[in-house]
């Protein structure tokens, strides 16, 4: 397969990876977060709006992370403070994001559906010195946006945080045995708030990569199911940072292979469906080996 294909697959899976890490963090804290899709969409809009009005793509990235954090407060307050149902709230938060961003794109930018402008600043590709010289690998791994590299960095950081840092260990305790954690004086609700808000920031970054890295525009409902794929990646990767990475890569490879097969004459609709089918089959395989812990 050619390097350009792998390179584009890497770019395409970054938003999913960010969102899946966000989902994993929440899962480990005992919060079932299905609002990744909507939070990512809010990040897309805030990223584009920030880049447009702030005049710099980094203002956009910051705005996306902050907006994602702020937006995830809805889920945090709803599920933790008010003890509402996480699935109901997640579905509503996702729909709210679709409505809200469509509403805002019209009231803020005065256009319906899609906002794009040649003057809108997007993320520039970075050339990694040294690496870019290596044949094939250089072409695949170099020349991505800074957020792509940040997402790779986020995987070991999250793994070390959950595996070694006292806060990470307490967070896992909160997720696995909330009563036990509480009896040891760990503030359960505060840790869960932290997990959801941090997940919001990660989803915001996912949105920024999608709207300012993969493309440079905002369009209605542009996340198109990526947040749901992230939910599945969390499940498939058992909420482990490296597991989630593997699941996201599997998804990206399925997509890349799909594009490849499209070149060989397979219809585009088959390749659209391929990642979902591959994921489902992977879930069958994994659950055949071990019984999946019910995650509701």
């Amino acid at each position: 397969m050619d390097a350009a294909l792998f390179a584009s697959a890497l770019g395409a899976l970054t938003p999913i990876l960010f969102a899946a890490l966000a989902g994993a963090l929440c899962q480990r804290a005992g919060v079932f977060n299905i609002s990744l899709e909507g939070t990512m969409l809010v990040g897309c809009f805030a990223g584009v709006a920030g880049s447009w009005y702030g005049g710099s793509v980094w203002v956009g990235v910051l705005a996306a992370a902050l907006a994602g954090t702020a937006y995830s407060l809805v889920l945090a307050v709803g599920t933790i403070t008010f003890r509402g149902d996480a699935v109901v709230l997640g579905v509503a938060v996702n729909l709210l994001a679709v409505g809200l961003t469509s509403f805002l794109v019209q009231t803020v930018f005065g256009t319906r559906g899609t906002f794009s402008d040649p003057a809108l600043a997007g993320l520039d590709p970075l050339t990694v010195p040294g690496l870019s010289e290596v044949p094939f690998l250089g072409e695949v791994l170099s020349g991505h946006s800074a957020l792509v590299y940040l997402s790779w960095l986020a995987v070991p950081v999250l793994a070390v945080f959950l595996g070694r840092h006292p806060w990470g260990l307490r967070l896992r305790g909160v997720g696995e045995r909330p009563e036990a954690a509480a009896s040891l004086g760990v503030p359960v609700d505060r840790y869960r708030y932290g997990a959801i808000l941090a997940a919001g920031a990660l989803c915001g970054l996912a949105g920024a990569q999608l709207a300012l890295g993969n493309v440079t525009l905002f369009s209605e409902n542009m996340t198109a199911g990526r947040g749901w794929i992230a939910v599945v990646a969390v499940l498939l990767g058992r909420a482990l940072p490296y597991g989630v990475l593997a699941a996201a890569v599997l998804f990206g490879l399925a997509e890349a292979a799909g594009f490849r097969l499209q070149g060989l004459g397979l219809p585009q609709q088959a390749t659209d469906a391929a990642p979902y089918v591959v994921t489902l089959v992977a879930l069958f395989v994994f659950s055949a080996r071990r019984t999946v812990k019910r995650s509701t």
């Binding site: 709803g78 008010f82 409505g99 509403f103 599945v232 609709q269």
Partner: protein, 334 residues
Amino acid sequence: MRGLRTTALAVLAAALLGAVLLAATGANPLVAFESIVVGAFGPDGLPDTLAYAVPVAGMATALAIPLRAGLVNLGGEGQLVLGAISAVAVGLQVPGVLGIVAALLAGVLAGALYAAFAAVCETALGVPLLVSTLLLSYPAVSLAAYLVRFPMRDPGSSLPQSEQLPPDVHLPALADTGLTAGLFLVLAAVVVYAVVDARTPAGFEARVTGWGPRFAQYAGIDRPRLTVRLLACSGGLAGLVGAVVVLGFPYRFIDGALITPQYTWIGLLAALLAAASPLGTLLAALFFAALTSGGFALERATQVPRELTAVLQAVLIIFLAAATGLLRGRKGAA
């Protein structure tokens, strides 16, 4: 059980937030709300509201059926689309009134089998239902998109759409309202759901499972069988809704035409709002359909984007879920 007062309070809070949003965009909230109500229920708007309410109410009921037992079917979209494309495929082959019946049955069967497969994924293969229904939804939509682009494509058109069904395979129209006899099919489904839910052991089993899955298991309710059965009913009704839509104007399957109006997701919101109670789900679906159809009138009258009504719908659910949780929490503490 959720009180009427909680619901009323949540509606009021959502309306208040809507008023603030409207005022922020420079519109007069009272004028805006009036235009929503007139647009939804006025003589010009009511037929549109009802025409939109039929698929929304159908999908809401379809998704309410498993929700009654605490099972969330996120794959309504795939079941709806698969039902629609199957109905068209059969309707193009079988002539006459028989064609209508065969097409409707094909829709029901396709949706039911597909949803039952998702249920089997949970009961036999260990993939949570939430995930299996959702993941199976995308391939179904892709399959339909493929079929209307290649094998089933209308040769006389450049759009991704099927051929038009012959005139004798159209559902009878009700006067010139844009409504079809499909209205009665969906109403019948709602009535059947209400009766089964309230009066039969099957409905009771589902409700008990919704109240307490572990108690239900202890009481001897076979959860896997219940899951497959409920999902088959849910998918079957979703497939019927798809069939009803394509057997009405413009009498063909157009790619995306069942997805863009958000029948499934608005239906799911309605079912969630009503905690899957049969009558409540119907009323919530009508309410949401009226809001959506009123949104168009709002846009015409005030230049405020119609998406505002979508925002209000979601906010309403959030308030309601929070309020319900709060009540449950207090009861638990007492």
